[in-house]
Symmetry: D2
Amino acid sequence: MTDEYAIAGVPMRWVGPLRITGNVANTETEVPLATYESPLWPSVRRGARISMLAPDGIVATLVDERMTRSVLVEALDAATAHATARQVDARFAQLRDIVRANSRFADLVAIRHEITANLLFLRFEFTTGDASGHNMATLASDLLLTHILETLPGISYGSISANYCTDKKATAINGILGRGKNVITELVVPRDVVRDRLHTTAGRIAQLNVRKNLIGTLLAGGIRSANAHYANMLLGFYLATGQDAANIVEGSQGVTVAEDRDGDLYFSCTIPNLIVGTVGNGKGLPFVETNLTRLGCRAEREPGANARRLAVIAAATVLCGELSLLAAQTNPGELMRAHLHLERPVEKIGQET
Amino acid sequence: MTDEYAIAGVPMRWVGPLRITGNVANTETEVPLATYESPLWPSVRRGARISMLAPDGIVATLVDERMTRSVLVEALDAATAHATARQVDARFAQLRDIVRANSRFADLVAIRHEITANLLFLRFEFTTGDASGHNMATLASDLLLTHILETLPGISYGSISANYCTDKKATAINGILGRGKNVITELVVPRDVVRDRLHTTAGRIAQLNVRKNLIGTLLAGGIRSANAHYANMLLGFYLATGQDAANIVEGSQGVTVAEDRDGDLYFSCTIPNLIVGTVGNGKGLPFVETNLTRLGCRAEREPGANARRLAVIAAATVLCGELSLLAAQTNPGELMRAHLHLERPVEKIGQET
Amino acid sequence: MTDEYAIAGVPMRWVGPLRITGNVANTETEVPLATYESPLWPSVRRGARISMLAPDGIVATLVDERMTRSVLVEALDAATAHATARQVDARFAQLRDIVRANSRFADLVAIRHEITANLLFLRFEFTTGDASGHNMATLASDLLLTHILETLPGISYGSISANYCTDKKATAINGILGRGKNVITELVVPRDVVRDRLHTTAGRIAQLNVRKNLIGTLLAGGIRSANAHYANMLLGFYLATGQDAANIVEGSQGVTVAEDRDGDLYFSCTIPNLIVGTVGNGKGLPFVETNLTRLGCRAEREPGANARRLAVIAAATVLCGELSLLAAQTNPGELMRAHLHLERPVEKIGQET
Amino acid sequence: MTDEYAIAGVPMRWVGPLRITGNVANTETEVPLATYESPLWPSVRRGARISMLAPDGIVATLVDERMTRSVLVEALDAATAHATARQVDARFAQLRDIVRANSRFADLVAIRHEITANLLFLRFEFTTGDASGHNMATLASDLLLTHILETLPGISYGSISANYCTDKKATAINGILGRGKNVITELVVPRDVVRDRLHTTAGRIAQLNVRKNLIGTLLAGGIRSANAHYANMLLGFYLATGQDAANIVEGSQGVTVAEDRDGDLYFSCTIPNLIVGTVGNGKGLPFVETNLTRLGCRAEREPGANARRLAVIAAATVLCGELSLLAAQTNPGELMRAHLHLERPVEKIGQET
């Protein structure tokens, strides 16, 4: 590592506004997206415009939030691992107090465990205020692990991180047990808007969603990943807001649902692993501060509220891009035409690349 | 989308040098990493230093390369889908000629198919020269799909992209059938280097790898993802070299192998889905051009050679960070100490967060 | 193991007839099902009756057949593994001749490989005549592995079976690369039959299929398993016809598609891993011989034709039970009522448990 | 369905005895296995003999038990689904009382939920006494679902079974959240026994386990399935004891761990989804009653104790066969020789096919 410090300048644009309602925010806001893939901007913009045509816009419901870290404990045998797990469960209140005593924001909300052979995997789950919480969870887990090792017999250190978390790898556990913000977005698009703005029908989008996102991913051996391109929108949004963008790995694991409701389109994106924060690494950079402020995520609010707001804005952005691309793919040739015009200053419609 | 253009400036540093040999490159080079997570730099740097102590350094073997796009064809019934698949197979040479006639660099190397009900999923596989190839594959697939629809009976357009590709979603198919560059890196670390530089033993790293990366991910319901944090290194490298970093989703699906060989450590990272290019979107940005040039990936070479060089450098970078973190996690408290020093200008050792 | 030989007598009934057409068989036949779960019989029977109402009955299309065995080769390093893989590919004709010289029925049709670190996984794929082919594939693979180890340098024995086959474990590879018979069944049920016999509508079955089989399994972290209960029918059929019923593990990995086509129901089951034979272990038992004969699978035909006939009958049986259960689950309380009557001699309709 | 009743007579033998200790049973017992694959018997027998050489035999630790059924509720929108989930959580005690009032043995122990779009998946988890519990869980879930639909607003019936259970399909959820008995078996085999009885070394078994069961399955896109052939032993045991053998699908999803401990072999099988009962369907057949009695699983015990005893015997049987096959596969040619002798009355050693 030389002494050079430099900057990778990723092109960034604001698109929108998009309209959001729901249990976290009622707002209209533009959103910043940093990407090398310029078709992302018009793709999200098209979805944003449609959100503005609906009185409630995109309804975003946050249903869970937690950050996790799993540790590995090696026991003498399975019976000792089992006894340890039961002891850990019994001492939950005490362990929670240890966390609280050492952190202003981290709070232990659950412990899950699984035993294989003589190996005990403990998954600690925390709320972490406005931080995405990776470091907070690691520090708290280190305390918990140290305490457990010191106070229970027959066990020894395995690892401070044991992939049962799971951080930045594609697994099923994050969706099933929760990791990050779990946000569901919904938008009902009237029949004429589907026709005039998306150049397709609700029935064709619903059918494509079943065949491509559900069956296509299933045949590919996918794991909880029924969508077209959540990763694209998340990457752009994460980079623009100072997030650790490697978390798009689990972010990509979400489910798009589309239904033809008498010609209107019900369109929904469920994103169980949105990992965002408004404080922490990357947040001190001037452009990040500016962006977070403009998004209304630097306001005086109770701890966690700014991060939840950021999460639902991220989720709504995902819906905009997902809707736009799926609509484009119902029409032969539309995606290709968008790509051919990639370098020209015209509106492009879909983007997956 | 307003008229504003801006830049998300991601902090970037060069670390290294690291030494690489193998069937693509024999070189010593520093590597650029752009990230908001500063512990990534010292983590990779520690691995790079170890690579310089081995005469052959990191041996990187590229075993495959291809870019893919799947299309969906709707048939009258399964029998028609089956007949179509057979016809497509029979016409492979003709389809390849169509691609060649329309692209200087894209070459059709294989077609795979799978039928479910009356739905035919065709997966076109191309080599794409020095481009990562997303757009090239989409354009070629559009031509192929149009030709197939026009010349075979009983079928109609389903989708230009059908998730059987699979782009930016976690699936098994990319590892099994190939997508991107498949690169295997290997490094043998002598016993005393393991002790002095990594503060651990080969046996402990090997054991941790089995328990964390193999068993831990398996229990989490992971899919082809036995590693600690490939996504971190890939994100930093992709951003610094103008890649579409959303491809870290499939990039994260790789396998670390560690063996204790009489006290020496055999350490290997297999990364089947490295998706990188030296031309295309993002590559025209001045800092990207500078970086690619400094990496030796802008030289006059046969088409594809610069991208292959970039791929093995990316893969070797992954190994450096993976080795460093795994070593750190064998020691209680080491990861925590690194995180606590996060904001200070001292060397940090591991990073996963 | 004492000297006692005994019999586990599993209750068996014939249900049907069901009507089958397609590229393998045009027939009407009853089918035997051996099970401890008596509701299976009326469930399949209801589907069979519906098949008899359609002129073409259940259209069964066999699209692939092969039996596989993977072996593991340890190489000096990845480069040697890569060189070995290329040599194996280059010698395909020679390897095929070795198989042919040692077996009347086994024929090598493809070799697939994947390298991780210095480990080379070779997946040999055979046609095996009328046998399901496990043993034939193992013996042929042993010959091939021995030959490869004797003639290529730098490699050594790893394992005669390496889980990349994959035998009786749930994986994605069997569906993607093929293992066993791949059979697609389709049935169009007229609107009034859906109403009168299934007491539901095409729309409700299609919607339930998306929500339960596709989305429900996806959320559960399923792998290529979008169906309600293929395993039940396969178990009953396998036991009744002398198959190795442990292959229901991969048999359970199939996909149900249901569509509302103007009120008629398009219903399809794709079963990519049907592993059945008409010769081999279990086939010599008198009741098995009787059953196979009654199914028309002991006729004088070209090698493989009897097994293919058995496969499409098995697949059609699966469709009958799947259709019946899904229909039942569209109606609140219907499944419960069936279970409550479990011990009584009345017709029951659905069965999953 | 004709009026014919018949029997599929599956060959059955008792093998053993094997020795079991642990938190459920301390016993020596032979075990019955019904199968068409005769090499299974000597394979399990070899493992059983080794268990008798260890003072504690196979240590079997039962760490969890529950039977599950998921139902699907359709809500007006995600917000209503979220509100419903919270209400269901808040009413847990009341829902448990409903189950208790209607069943002598079923007890509601947990409810899990996941929301996607406007769809609420509720996973009810029960203990079910000595029954495997499929029907008991279905009946209780029907009551619960009816009550929830009648008392909460904005929701309607989706399905009585929603694949989030998951029954007889390969998923990750059963291992993560639990379904059936979760039993861990461990056996330490002294170095000389490994050499004399298994003709191999602890190191070679440990290495093969990593490469075949962990890496091989991972590459195949497996889901929580790191073993050689659990399905074989489970099928034979389930058929011999009147179980619904289709549950080998989830039974096959377990993890083998093998370690070289200074030349001795630590060998462990974790089987999280053992689904067995001593009452219910199939249990009234005379040979089943005889077998259960001989296994000591018809004794006067507290509800559930007989089923737990049966579970640990099943799990120990799995270990015997798994150990035997893995040992055989460390030796080139051994598996082939066993297969060649398949029809002759000699001892065979390994069996996977």
